[in-house]
């Protein structure tokens, strides 16, 4: 019997929700690490019992937790994220220089080949790797030391590396995205990087077509079509056909193209989901109606998915890491809100149910398909 496990990181702890393949009855466990911000909790695809959580606090800093039994027990791992060499400076909001300073781990991505190899995207933006299950961390400094690195600047949420994608057809190819520097790609396993932002247009920077400085909110990829990337930028939903070398806009008929989350259907690389948010000044759904939009044409043509979602007086946000999919035959879509709801659709977005309703603000959602 198949099952689904939802891993939710929230402002005040982690929660684990489980259901069988019908996805109509959910158990809720938690809070784990109560009172701490859990920016991300993620699982190895090689070993489904291996989980990692990024636990942080303004008082006590960063903690990394690891579970070897699917979340029943946890142990604290190494939390020393030391930048390679002399870190130097990046740009602050006002263009002054600011020393690179580690603040927190935004995203943990276990490698597709080993549960003991994992990557951490951190603020101030850098990529770290552990080869021993979190016992030690080292920086892949070629990213931050890119010639553009000293010109990167933070977005409103901080200068965070929030997306890490592996190309399943090329073990050497890795994508990352940084707010507000842009998207980057490595073709040699993370040693060297290049910006992949051609085609992005951002009116809020001095040169709207600049090589860096774009506030990329999230990237998504379907494993069967790894050269096709989708992006939710600050404004604009974008698509690349060639691994990020060039991008074109696919916002089409979306009512607003601002947003954070984006993901791809498990079995159809041309079916994409976004949650439009009114604007960068008003981080809530347009007209107080929570709508997921689905394109089955790889973008441009979008339909609103509303069944089961609140269509009035709804002023929550859906953050960049708070949407995920399962891989059951009828693909499930999941997202969490800053109002503490987790919505699930067992039918590809046609209908939705709140599987948790009163959690702390949801920062991240990951989903494991267990068979």
């Amino acid at each position: 019997m198949s099952a689904v496990r939802v891993l939710a990181g929230t402002r005040k702890g982690a929660f684990i929700l489980e259901a069988d393949g019908k996805r109509d009855r959910w158990s809720v466990e938690g809070p784990f690490f109560a009172g701490w911000e859990i920016y991300h909790i993620n699982a190895s695809r090689v070993d489904p019992n291996r989980l990692y959580a990024s636990q942080s606090s303004g008082w006590f800093g960063q903690v990394v937790q690891r579970s070897d039994d699917g979340g029943r027990t946890w142990r604290t791992m190494n939390n020393e994220f030391a930048y390679d060499g002399v870190p130097g400076t990046h740009q602050w909001f006002d263009g002054t220089e600011r020393p690179w300073e580690f603040k927190r781990v935004w995203h943990i991505e276990p490698s597709p080949v080993s549960p003991d190899i994992l990557y951490a995207g951190v603020e101030d933006a850098a990529l770290f790797r552990s080869d021993d299950g979190g016992e030690h961390w080292h920086e892949l400094a070629g990213l931050r030391n890119h010639r553009t690195g000293s010109g990167w600047h933070p977005g409103a949420g901080g200068m965070c590396l929030h997306t890490i994608l592996f190309d399943p057809s090329d073990a050497q190819r890795i994508y990352v995205a940084i707010s507000a520097a842009g998207a980057f790609r490595s073709d040699d396993g993370g040693a060297n990087w290049k910006p992949i932002n051609r085609g992005l247009h951002s009116e809020y920077i001095p040169d709207p077509n600049a090589e860096i400085g774009h506030c990329v909110h999230r990237l998504a990829m379907h494993p069967a079509q790894p050269n096709v990337l989708y992006m939710q930028k600050h404004w604009d939903v974008m698509r690349s056909e060639n691994g990020g070398d060039e991008w074109h806009e696919i916002s089409g008929n979306l009512p607003t193209d601002f947003g954070f989350a984006i993901d791809v259907h498990a079995h159809d690389p041309e079916t994409v989901y976004v949650v439009p948010i009114k604007s960068d000044r008003e981080h809530f759904p347009l007209d107080g109606a929570l709508r997921v939009y689905r394109s089955t044409t790889g973008g441009n043509e979008w339909e609103a998915l509303t069944k089961g979602l609140p269509q009035e007086h709804c002023y929550v946000n859906v953050l960049r890491d708070a949407m995920a999919i399962d891989r059951l035959d009828s693909c499930g879509i999941y997202f969490g809100t800053t109002g503490g709801q987790i919505y699930a659709s067992p039918d590809g977005g046609d209908s939705w149910n709140a599987i948790a309703r009163d959690l702390p603000p949801v920062l991240s959602i990951e989903v494991q398909t267990l068979v």
């Binding site: 606090s57 303004g58 008082w59 006590f60 800093g61 939390n79 020393e80 030391a82």
Partner: protein, 98 residues
């Protein structure tokens, strides 16, 4: 033996309850006490003071004998009442919020 009271979140992280006793190496300073805490509870490394610089995290404070030691030299000897065990060293999360 130095008595130490940790913030609730750190007690949970270290899987302890109540106050703890630590035996610092050498002169009983704040730095030595934190070193002894970290040695006994490795999960607390980096949560009281930064890795590398070993400076106090800015939203934590150190109190003892009704005195704020947060800005004292971390290599200076703790008050006699802390050293003889009659008073604890308090590590406090700074008050923040509404």
């Amino acid at each position: 033996m130095i008595r130490v009271i940790l913030p609730a979140h750190l007690r949970v992280l270290a899987n302890i309850s109540g106050e703890i006793d630590v035996e610092p190496e050498g002169n009983p300073t704040i730095s030595a006490v934190i070193g002894a805490i970290e040695a006994r509870f490795p999960s607390l490394r980096g949560t009281i003071r930064y890795h590398g610089s070993a400076t106090r995290r800015p939203m934590l404070r150190f109190y003892a004998c009704n005195v704020d030691l947060s800005h004292a030299d971390s290599e200076s000897t703790l008050p006699d009442a802390v050293v003889d065990g009659s008073e604890p060293l308090l590590i406090i999360g700074a008050i923040a919020g509404g």
